[in-house]
Amino acid sequence: MSEPGTYPEAAPAGLIRKYVFSLNHKVIGKQYYVLSLLAVFIGTVLSWVMRIHLAWPNAAIPGVQFLSKTGAPGGMLTPEYYLQLMTMHGTLMIFFVVTTAPLAGFGNYFLPLQIGAEEMAFPRTNMMSFWVTFCAFIVALSAFFVPEGPPLSGWTAYAPLSALGQVAGPGQGTGQVLWALSIAIFCVGQLLGSINFISTTLDLRCTGMSLMRLPLSAWAWFITSCMSLTAFAVLLPACVLLILDHVAGTSFFIPSNLVVNDQLQPRGGGSALLWQHLFWFFGHPEVYIAIVPAIGIVSHVLIANMRRPLSSHRAVIYSMVTIAFLSYVVYGHHMFVSGMNPFASVAFSLPTLAITIPSTIVVLIWIGSLYGSKLRINAASLFALGFISMFVSGGVTGLFLAQPSLDIMLHATYFVVGHFHLVMAVAALFGIFAGTYFWFPKMTGRMMNETLGKIHFWLTFVGAYCIFMPFYYLGMAGNVRRYQSFVDDFMAPLMPIHKFITIAALITGFAQLIFLYNLIHSRFWGRPAPLNPWEATSLEWCTPSSPPPFDNFGGKLPVVYHDPYQYGIEGGNNDYVMQNSPEQINSARDER
């Protein structure tokens, strides 16, 4: 690890050290963000291919044959290749998008700025964590280019089929090993990043920046890093064991007397459930690793646009901490249909129901604080509102799935697909969009186009509901998930809904091109941004330039005098007081 205090005063001049192997947290944050953009693009295209195949199973999809001649001959997906694409869609979206962008992307860029530090605690470790993550990304994608392609076992890689090798299906040999290797490498990158985030938050805060004066986004990154540290530390050994089952002939996850494809498997004695326990001990905190940073970002954006602090700053922090803690003791709700002891199901069901309490507290605080506020409507605040909507629409159905008696009926259906896409995937994406529209002026020195941003919001908001709400209806109608076709069975009458979803997915996907155009066009030709365009109070807006200089604050670290959200202040020129402003505020709010 590099040492704090060795931070260079001047930016490196060379192209490689400045933009590629940079030690600067802002460059690394942007690298993570671009990586996520790339991953979300590939993941979206994969989902389009899957959706088109689901809606028109006999149609050839132009271009897909280039992905795999055997998996998609003439552009027609085989059932196995559908599952292989599904695996890669889930893997890319969950690991490289919703885990990477809100935490590693925005967190790297803005955590040091928000706490008044000139760098992350360990810049070299930071650089290493990005490039390790990038390697994981390349290894994951390389599965497309090996014979038989990527694995078909889904992003959860359930054993024993994920541990058996080629006999379990196409992609289950080399493809599955590459998948496990990619995730293991990704875990290392996450662990390095988490150590950095935790050390930075605890030790690099500027004078006056107590923990309770941290903005909610900084709190969210800190809490998420603690989760990430402990959750990925468990997924890593799970992947190591899985790789050993493949390449070393061990039998950790392969039970005895297993017959696959009419072949009795020579190895045995292992436990398939062991994989699920290890995976979901990571997997459920992972849901919150994706969503808690978005909660922080959305709170931060909303407060600046409401021009008032949330009704309880501490309650949001304590709720996020409670969510983080409970996320470890609810993981068994993913395994209600896995043959667990029924008593264990109850033990996992109760905390799952309980975790809705802190989530509800946060939502009520948002809504309560919004009530009566003069909300500034812009793309960032719209996406923040959209996040609340998605979080609630997806979260409410979690109450159904938390109960084993209902989950047994719904578990293998599209109901679950709708649930986790809304509460985790779309909500996290809305958090990323809110953060992008809000922080873009600071990151680039230019404003994004608001009109395009609003059009992007409405198309995405309506589109996301058109895609994912019908999943609930499909699930309640008994439409099972992970099937590649529904034309020849009792689910055939549901095909019109599938076609509707596919059309909505295509339109919503294309609507993202507006965002991409806005992002690129504004980066180079956008209106120059003022230093503090949103009249916000936290330290990232007090830098001497946009984007901030190499050392963030121009050689002089700020001193913090106030809580992070001093809005609605009367008696001055502005209705806000920045955290580093020495003006005294006669407010009970500041005496915490």
């Binding site: 923990l211 004695g269 005098y561």
Partner: protein
């Protein structure tokens, strides 16, 4: 459903009163940003190494639970006697920690200017490195002993876990040896660039490897 809305209190700005600053930790202040430039103090290194040790603990806890579940899931678990060289290795590792503590005191004294000679400090650092290498070599001897008995990684789940635990621990020891090498390199320069915080971080890590090894030895002794 009724929602209580807490209106933020109306506040006013004072004109010229001096600013107050509270904070730091939960209620106090991080004493000063100046610590960033201090030569001998770096809380971030300490926090970082503790966070890293937390992650390592979780990793080995996961492996332990996997071992317990795997042993209980089938009747194919075969017990075998642990190679006796492991006990010698344990003594070597513990000795390395003792020597590292001596090194830490001597290096600190030199860096603070309390002692002029650095040869003793350097010797203890090299000794720690040597003992660490000896430990890894001893572990290799243990693997060779098992191999001679026909116990390979995939022979039996008990052997799988033995190789897994010892190899991963040895990997972490190698990481510690890299850290020690860094410490020696920085300390051996004409004007040492070593920070006490770096040495402390490496020491915490190294001692933790002792604790981890004792835990693993007891676990393996009980289960295998």
């Amino acid at each position: 459903m009724a929602i209580t809305v807490h209106e933020p209190s109306h506040t006013t700005i004072g004109q010229s009163k001096p600013a107050s600053s509270s904070g730091g930790g939960w209620g106090g202040v991080p004493s000063s940003a100046a610590w960033l430039r201090l030569e001998d103090s770096s809380p971030a290194s300490r926090t970082g190494v503790w966070a890293g040790l937390g992650a390592i603990t979780m990793t080995f806890a996961a492996f332990t639970s996997a071992m317990i579940v795997r042993q209980g899931s089938s009747y194919d678990w075969q017990h075998f006697v642990l190679p006796s060289v492991l006990y010698c290795n344990t003594a070597v590792l513990l000795a390395s920690s003792v020597v590292l503590e001596l090194a830490r005191k001597r290096v600190s004294a030199f860096l603070r200017g309390q002692v002029k000679q650095r040869s003793t400090a350097m010797l203890t650092l090299w000794l720690t490195l040597g003992l660490g290498l000896l430990f890894v070599g001893g572990q290799y001897v243990a693997w060779m002993e098992l191999r001679a008995q026909g116990l390979y990684l995939a022979t039996n789940p008990s052997a799988s876990f033995f190789y897994l635990f010892t190899a991963l621990h040895a990997l972490h020891i190698l990481g510690g040896l890299c850290g020690l090498s860094l410490v020696i390199w920085r300390f051996s320069k004409q004007v040492p660039t070593l920070r006490i915080s770096t040495l402390s971080a490496v020491s915490y890590y190294w001692h933790f490897m002792d604790v981890l090894w004792i835990y693993l030895l007891i676990l393996l002794w009980m289960r295998i």
